[in-house]
Symmetry: C2
Subunit: 337 residues, 2 copies
Amino acid sequence: MGLLLKLILILLKLLGLKNKSIMITSEFELIKRYFTKKNRQTKLGIGDDAAIIQIQKNHELVISSDMLVEGIHFIKNTNPSHLGWKSLAVNLSDISAMGAQPKWATLSISLPKVDPIWLKKFSQGFFKCAKKFNIDLIGGDTTKGPLSISITIMGEIKKNKSLLRSGAQIGDDIWVTGELGNASMGLACLQRKLKLSPTLKTKCIKSLQTPVPKVFFGLTLPRYAKSCIDVSDGLIQDLTHITKSSKVGATLFIEKIPCNAAIKTSKKYHYALNGGDDYELLFTAPKKYSSHIQKISKKTKIITTRIGVITNQPSISILDRHGKLVSFKNKGYDHFA
Amino acid sequence: MGLLLKLILILLKLLGLKNKSIMITSEFELIKRYFTKKNRQTKLGIGDDAAIIQIQKNHELVISSDMLVEGIHFIKNTNPSHLGWKSLAVNLSDISAMGAQPKWATLSISLPKVDPIWLKKFSQGFFKCAKKFNIDLIGGDTTKGPLSISITIMGEIKKNKSLLRSGAQIGDDIWVTGELGNASMGLACLQRKLKLSPTLKTKCIKSLQTPVPKVFFGLTLPRYAKSCIDVSDGLIQDLTHITKSSKVGATLFIEKIPCNAAIKTSKKYHYALNGGDDYELLFTAPKKYSSHIQKISKKTKIITTRIGVITNQPSISILDRHGKLVSFKNKGYDHFA
């Protein structure tokens, strides 16, 4: 940041004007100031009618888009740095679920006003995530409008190696990374619908606000897994996508589902089964790869738990530790439900 | 459309309920019903965590994103079919300005409610444009929120053949396709700031609502042109992008600028110079290719006019037919200005 801008910002802060829409009025200036960083793996980035990228030989391109809207995906006055991180992280999660290497992103953002403080924090959060996972921001759009963020993420994978939802086979183990339900518990806390211990509350809100996509873990999966999805709408809903696409069923063991102590002791399993925003990887793999998966888990320091098995039944069943059926709702997050 | 759905729609129409949010409540159903079409050039389309595309040998990928927000880019109650067409068309225009072949799009849309009539018309408009220019819709997102449409478009071009803004050379002719200023005159008519004859009014509003991107024309340009941009923010602003990127200047001949008779007779050149939403191609080419460009113009039936020349001056000048300088404002469309 230039010295002059710094001085003006300090002055405005002293005058209590720091959040006013100031100085940067042009869309082009805005893009240049906050969203143009040096790219590392892009032929042509921001600044022309389009960006240009080159795909490695024998590779194909994997693409996904996600939109985050204020009041729907995040509450008003969400910390802009967290929002910047999360906007990119949730997209990375989709590419990881294909077993691919995410590399490029476009960011379209509509803003009610040009607020330099907000924009600076947002772009810091965004680029913190981009740097961690080696992503180039190659294009996008900025416009006036209600706060909404739309990202398209692109990645590479060797031809025919992508992990689809449709590849699960009867007898496959069902695995999931991390812990489920923390983010939805975090949301319930913020909405004052749930009380948790201070430590757990902090952990859950962190899961909600700055989820960590399982990029490096996802890259190892094509060697062993048969199908994969990221858990964004709730375990049951996302597992249903796998079972429907693969034309199989599934049995889960409730006590194996990785979740925090508060869920286990209070039996509030609905957070782990139907809560959204987990951004963990749910995948299936033949039994013979069990030890390989445990090794990856150790190496990447990502907890990975076998939670069930793919069956020839037409639906999903959940069993308790005595082998008795557990009743549950098959209802995940749906914006229009 | 199923017979049952048709009957229900007729019934609702009779009951005056045709615009109510009905029946389709799930995000997945919505995507399936309105946005899933058979793809022609895509390995994996909508329905998994990400789409997969393959790039031809010796080609690179060209990517652009645009966001359209209600109240900013289009007025409330815009015909949804026109909006569907335009959302895709403005993105195609960016890929054409690179000289590339657009092939794939992702569409993220936030909607205040699920209105089947609106969605049907929007998707019809979108796919009409997609069909005309052979575009596969390969992914995206649907969510609740203020009406906003975000598209990422991807195209292919042979390696190192893209037309950049930075390629203009001193002595190049400056060319533009079509007529400039019609769309901004159309908008002024709708806003009741301008009166036009009924025929011209219809033409201008059509230019505004359903612009036709110059896809086939753009594909021929890399053989002759040195630089290109699409005119979306106004001729002067977009030409400035070329002159600044290429570190050159430009002289334009006001009487050569292609525009409708109302602009010429009333001398309201600001519509042609600064009006947005034209989606014509502005390009520069060495003089020796003049006849080639005129041949392409005839073949593609796209009027193409030589409007000026690239100079070694530091800025843009406009001359009248006597060679006298015309004063003008360098001000195009900017969402935050």
